[in-house]
């Protein structure tokens, strides 16, 4: 049985760990034997305030790595909601960071989930873990997609040895995000 192809955009501002979040999804899915691609927005766009990456996870070889109409969007700041909500495929899942976004998304044909991502992260004493909270929420909301354990392992693989000491914190934030989304 083929799993559906996931076309994901993760977006926020620099420092929110947008690229790392995308990489974690890819590594976890790659270890599960699926085809993956990850491509960041790059160059001049990187200096404009938002950073985003496209992630494709599929049972067949990935065609275009650039996601034009995402089925999943994780929007960690306000400009990200404004930029990607209109581009989403009907029926898609939009997880938005209610700690920072003042203008909530409005589309009726999407599954819209608000997540206090930065707030959840701050409870662990850092504001840099909003990406982890959002990934936890995505795992909770997309049944059969990836497991928390797979992301745990991906964290050790993706993060440099120097930063690995922060992984226990990252894992707690991941789980807090998972719980918050499961409860909602």
């Amino acid at each position: 049985m083929m799993k559906p192809t996931e076309e994901i955009v993760i977006s926020g501002f620099g420092g929110q760990g947008v690229l790392l979040a995308g990489k974690l999804l890819c590594i976890a899915a790659m270890r599960g034997g699926r085809h993956v691609s990850h491509i960041p927005s790059y160059g001049a766009e990187m200096r404009g305030g938002t950073a985003n990456c496209s992630v494709v996870i599929s049972d067949e070889p990935v065609a275009s790595p650039v996601v034009e109409h995402p089925g999943v969007v994780i929007a960690l700041n306000e400009p990200s909601v404004a930029k990607f909500e209109p581009k989403m495929r009907p029926g898609g899942l939009l997880i938005w960071n209610s700690s920072l976004v003042k203008t909530p998304p409005t589309r009726q044909d999407l599954q819209i989930v608000d997540l206090d991502a930065t707030g959840i992260s701050l409870e662990e004493g850092t504001e840099r873990g909003a990406n982890m909270a959002a990934l936890g929420a995505l795992i909770a909301l997309r049944e059969g997609f990836l497991s928390l354990e797979a992301l745990d392992e991906a964290l050790d693989e993706a993060v440099s040895a120097r930063n690995r000491e922060r992984n226990p914190v990252n894992r707690r934030i991941l789980r807090a995000g998972y719980s918050a989304a499961s409860a909602a």
Partner: protein
């Protein structure tokens, strides 16, 4: 998947592969979207006792490559389209002097400064040669991070075997994308370089040059080069076919365009349309005979490019009118849309049916 599989950015997979192939002399000038290559080399070369040098210009970089190659080193430079345009002078000289080296073009949109998103507008430049004179370079066209690594290792061997520059022609999407990669092993091939400049100790002096002024000597040199190019053309036409055995419609595409075309083939097959993909992995030499054979059985050929029509000229030369050759392209950093490619072939199918009914 084995544990050796790693998630790697295309540019970095290529850079690591160059190191695996024994490249210890790398010279380049920064330009997007290939900046990960110099950054990677800057970090790794000192660890390996190799040379990374950020040149003052693209011209200096390619000429440093020429110097290192003349000294017998495995050497490489990388750039993107506008930077590659600047390197053409050096590439012509290196070709004339028959030095081996690896060149990487992670293409972006042009003309001029253009943009930074991936494109395929340098096909002519790469396959025809942007510099002066009658010369050819081997041009390899990878389609994913794995091939960026594999083709790069191979490129160093081909360069040494034929004493020719070998170009990896990628694009910004391939360079920037991270995918699963199993890093290749060194091939272990070694090449005697009895032409390299090492100092005339206990032997006659050697000369590496492209200037030939004596009457007839330049033509003789050109004929010699041509003979070499002919033998490469015989030995090295590379391609991959996908579902072409019974294909009515053959898509021809390389690099990122081929990824999209391959998926279009799958969708068309699901819709009952017999489509296939012919993907050249060497652009020079172009696998013309092989494509010609497919064209004899196909109803139509569709070339898909991230340019407004460059490789399509080679496709037409190969097909020699055996069937109509159509074109679909996007330019300036845009990607061919999957739906557009599918719809183009669907239109062929409708037209063929109409044609049959009318006749």
């Amino acid at each position: 998947m084995s544990k050796k599989t790693v998630l790697m950015k295309g540019n970095e997979a290529l850079a690591e592969a160059a190191l695996i192939a024994g490249c210890r002399h790398y010279f380049a000038y920064p330009i997007t979207p290939q900046n990960e290559i110099p950054a990677y080399m800057a970090k790794r070369m000192p660890e390996l006792g190799g040379v990374f040098l950020q040149a003052e210009s693209e011209l200096a970089a390619i000429n440093m490559v020429m110097g290192a190659a003349a000294g017998g080193a495995r050497t490489m430079t990388s750039s993107s389209s506008p930077g590659m345009a600047l390197k053409q002078e050096g590439i012509s000289y290196i070709s004339g002097a028959e030095l081996p080296c690896v060149l990487v073009n992670v293409m972006r949109g042009g003309p001029g400064l253009g943009g930074i998103a991936g494109a395929q507008g340098d096909y002519f430049q790469a396959t025809r040669g942007g510099g002066n004179g009658d010369y050819r370079n081997i041009v390899l066209a990878p389609g994913n991070a794995q091939e960026l690594a594999d083709f790069t290792v191979d490129a160093f061997d081909l360069a040494d075997e034929y004493r020719i520059p070998v170009m990896i022609l990628a694009d910004g999407f391939l360079g920037q994308m991270s995918e699963a990669v199993v890093l290749p092993e060194p091939t272990g091939k070694t090449f005697e370089k009895d032409w390299a400049l090492t100092g005339a100790k206990d032997r006659n002096k050697r000369l590496v040059a492209s200037l030939r002024l004596a009457e007839g000597s330049l033509e003789a040199h050109n004929l010699h080069l041509q003979k070499k190019y002919d033998s490469i053309t015989q030995a090295l036409r590379r391609f991959e076919t996908y579902k072409t055995d019974d294909a009515d419609y053959v898509l021809v595409a390389y690099g990122t365009s081929a990824r999209i075309s391959r998926q279009a083939v799958d969708r068309l097959r699901e819709a009952g349309v017999k489509a296939g993909l012919f993907r050249p992995t060497s652009l020079w030499p172009f696998p013309d005979k092989e494509l010609h054979e497919l064209a004899r059985k196909a109803k139509r050929i569709l070339t898909v490019e991230m340019s407004l029509g460059q490789m399509v000229e080679d496709v037409r030369l190969a097909v020699e009118g055996r069937c109509p050759v159509e074109f679909h392209g996007r330019a300036g950093g845009a990607l061919p849309a999957l739906d557009d490619v599918i719809e183009t072939v669907m239109r062929f199918e409708r037209e063929e049916v109409t044609h049959v009914h009318a006749s």
